[in-house]
C-alpha cells in the first residue's frame, strides 16, 4: 500500500494548494486575447469605477433601473470569452456575504409596495433584492477587471491615476507574495496533517503557533525582499515596465461606456421598455 494513501484519501488536495491553483487561473484568464483584454488597463479601470459608482447610486427601491445595469457585465462576458459560471465559482465565498447584507430588510420594512397578482411584495423585499443585485453587479465588474487585466498593468494604471505609490506597491507585492505565503502555509499544513492523522483541519491549540510561524517567516521574507529591492536601486519609487499607452480607441471605449451608464442611470429604460408592452 502506498505510504501516503490514508492521508491522500483524507485530503486529496490541500486547500492552500487549491487556492494557489485558483490564483494561477486568474493569471491565465488575464493573459487571454480578446478585444476587452487588448484595451488599456486605465480605460478598463475607469469604466469599472464608473460602473460601480453608478450601480451604488441607485436608490433602495430602484430595482427595475438596476436590472438594466446587468447588460454591461453580460456584454463583457460575451466579448472577452470569460465564462460566467467561472465568475460565480470564484466568488462563491464572497457572494453569500454580499447576499446576506439585505437579508433582514423584509423584517423591518413590511409595507407592501406592489402586488404580483394578489401577492403583496413589501418594500423590504424590494430593498433586499436591490442590495443583493448591487453587490453581485459590483463583484462581477471587479472580477471582469481582474480577469481581463494582468495585475502589473492594473497597478501601472493606478499609478497613472495618481493613486498613492505606497498603496499600489503594497497591492502589487501582496499579490506576488500571497502565492508564496500560501505555498508556505500549504507546506506547514501538510507537515501538520502528516503528524496528526485522522484529524480534520488544524486543532485550535495549534492556531497560535501556526500564525506566529507564518508571521515570523513573513517578516524574514519582507526584510530580505526589501534588501533585494534596495540592491537594485529602489528609492521609494516604483517604475512600472508595462505601461500600455492610452489610445483614442481606449478613450472612446471609456467615454462610451461611462455615457451609457449615466444614460441608464438617468433614463428609466426598464420602465420605458415595459410601457411599450403594458398600457
Amino acid at each position: 500500500m502506498p505510504l501516503f494513501s490514508a492521508y491522500q484519501r483524507a485530503c486529496p488536495m490541500n486547500k492552500m494548494q487549491k487556492a494557489l491553483r485558483e490564483l494561477g487561473e486568474m493569471d491565465d484568464l488575464a493573459a487571454r486575447q480578446s478585444p476587452i483584454h487588448s484595451l488599456s488597463p486605465t480605460a478598463k479601470l475607469l469604466t469599472t469605477i464608473a460602473y460601480i459608482a453608478v450601480v451604488v447610486s441607485f436608490g433602495k427601491y430602484q430595482l427595475s433601473g438596476l436590472i438594466v445595469m446587468v447588460l454591461w457585465p453580460v456584454l463583457l462576458f460575451q466579448i472577452s470569452g470569460i465564462p460566467v459560471g467561472l465568475c460565480f465559482y470564484k466568488l462563491r465565498i464572497v457572494l453569500p456575504l454580499v447576499m446576506a447584507v439585505g437579508l433582514f430588510n423584509p423584517l423591518f420594512d413590511r409595507a407592501p409596495m406592489l402586488y404580483l397578482g394578489s401577492l403583496p411584495v413589501s418594500g423590504g423585499a424590494f430593498s433586499m433584492l436591490t442590495l443583493m443585485l448591487k453587490g453581485v453587479l459590483c463583484l462581477m465588474a471587479s472580477f471582469l477587471l481582474m480577469a481581463t487585466t494582468p495585475i502589473d498593468s492594473l497597478c501601472a494604471s493606478l499609478r497613472r491615476l495618481h493613486v498613492p505609490g505606497l498603496l499600489v506597491t503594497l497591492l502589487l507585492l501582496t499579490y506576488r507574495y500571497v502565492g508564496v505565503m500560501t505555498e508556505e502555509l500549504a507546506v506547514m499544513t501538510d507537515a501538520y496533517h502528516l503528524r496528526a492523522p485522522g484529524q480534520r483541519g488544524i486543532h485550535v491549540s495549534a492556531w497560535g503557533s501556526f500564525l506566529g510561524q507564518l508571521l515570523l517567516r513573513s517578516m524574514d521574507r519582507a526584510q530580505e525582499l526589501y534588501g533585494s529591492m534596495l540592491l537594485r536601486g529602489y528609492h521609494d519609487h516604483f517604475h512600472y515596465a508595462l505601461m500600455k499607452p492610452f489610445t483614442v480607441r481606449d478613450g472612446a471605449y471609456a467615454a462610451g461606456c461611462i455615457a451609457a451608464f449615466l444614460l441608464l442611470r438617468l433614463v428609466p429604460a426598464a420602465r420605458l421598455l415595459g410601457s411599450l408592452f403594458v398600457r
Binding site: 493569471d27 502589473d152 540592491l231
Partner: protein
C-alpha cells in the same frame, strides 16, 4: 576590486561573527567563499553590500562602502540571493528584469533592449512574460541571475546559487556562472560547483579566514576541509567523501 581591511562585525555585543577579516579580490577574479554553517559567509556578503555595517574598512574600486557611496557601489555589485522568491518580487520575469535598469535611469527602450539581450544570451527568451510564481525552481534561479545581469554589474555576488536544484538545472547554472566575465564572489556548500567555477577559494571559520588560495589546492586538502566540518568535493573524493 573588492577589499576588506580588518573588518569586525557582531550581531550581539561580545559575540563576533566576523573577526578582523582582511582579503582582496582583483577585477575579473572568481572567488569561492566556503565554510561550515555559521562561518560568516553570508554576513561578508551583506557587509560588502552595505546591508550591514561593521567596523573596519570595506572598499569597492577604492571607494569605502558607506551611506554616501551605497548607491554607486550597489550599482556595481549584483547580488543573487539564495531564495529566488525573495529576489523575484515583481509579478513577471520581464518586469523583474526591468526593475533595476529603470531605477538606474535607463529609458524604457534601452532597458528593454538590455533585458532582451540578457534573456537571449541565457536562452531564457520564453520566460520573458511568465509569472514568477508559476515557473519552476530551476527557471526561477536562472531568471534571478538574469535580473542581476540586466543591471550590467561589474561584479556578481551569489549566495548558494545551486542549492535545491536538480542536476540538470545545476549544470545550467554552473555553465552560466562560468560564462560570466565579471568578478565573482560565490558562497556555497556545493564544493564541486566552486571547483568548477572559481579559481580561488577563501575558507572561513567562526568569522575568520582559515585558508585562502587556489581552489585546486584548498579543495584537495582533505585534512583542512575535515577540520572545518567539510568534505572533499565528490569529483575529487572518488566516492570516498565522508568515510
Amino acid at each position: 576590486m573588492i577589499e576588506f581591511q580588518h573588518v569586525n562585525f557582531a550581531y550581539e555585543p561580545g559575540r563576533p561573527v566576523i573577526a578582523d577579516l582582511s582579503f582582496r579580490i582583483e577585477d575579473g577574479e572568481a572567488v569561492g567563499l566556503i565554510g561550515a554553517n555559521g562561518a560568516g559567509k553570508s554576513t561578508v556578503m551583506k557587509l560588502l553590500l552595505g546591508l550591514l555595517q561593521g567596523e573596519g574598512k570595506i572598499l569597492v574600486d577604492g571607494r569605502p562602502v558607506n551611506r554616501d557611496s551605497l548607491g554607486e557601489i550597489r550599482r556595481k555589485l549584483g547580488f543573487v540571493l539564495q531564495n529566488s522568491d525573495n529576489q523575484m518580487f515583481m509579478p513577471t520575469v520581464y518586469e523583474d528584469m526591468m526593475f533595476a535598469p529603470l531605477n538606474y535611469g535607463l529609458s524604457r527602450e534601452e532597458a528593454e533592449r538590455r533585458v532582451d539581450g540578457v534573456l537571449e544570451r541565457l536562452g531564457l527568451t520564453e520566460l520573458k512574460h511568465r509569472h514568477n510564481h508559476r515557473i519552476s525552481g530551476g527557471e526561477k534561479r536562472m531568471a534571478a541571475i538574469a535580473t542581476i545581469l540586466a543591471m550590467e554589474p561589474e561584479a556578481v555576488l551569489m549566495d548558494e546559487p545551486t542549492s535545491a536544484l536538480d542536476p540538470y538545472n545545476r549544470r545550467i547554472v554552473i555553465n552560466t556562472i562560468r560564462s560570466l566575465p565579471q568578478t565573482k564572489l560565490i558562497t556555497s556548500h556545493d564544493l564541486d560547483m566552486i571547483l568548477d567555477t572559481c579559481q580561488r577559494v577563501i575558507l572561513m571559520s567562526k568569522g575568520e579566514i582559515v585558508a585562502d588560495g587556489p581552489a585546486g589546492v584548498i579543495l584537495r586538502d582533505r585534512a583542512l576541509l575535515e577540520a572545518q566540518r567539510m568534505e572533499l568535493p565528490l569529483s575529487l573524493s572518488g566516492g570516498q567523501a565522508g568515510r
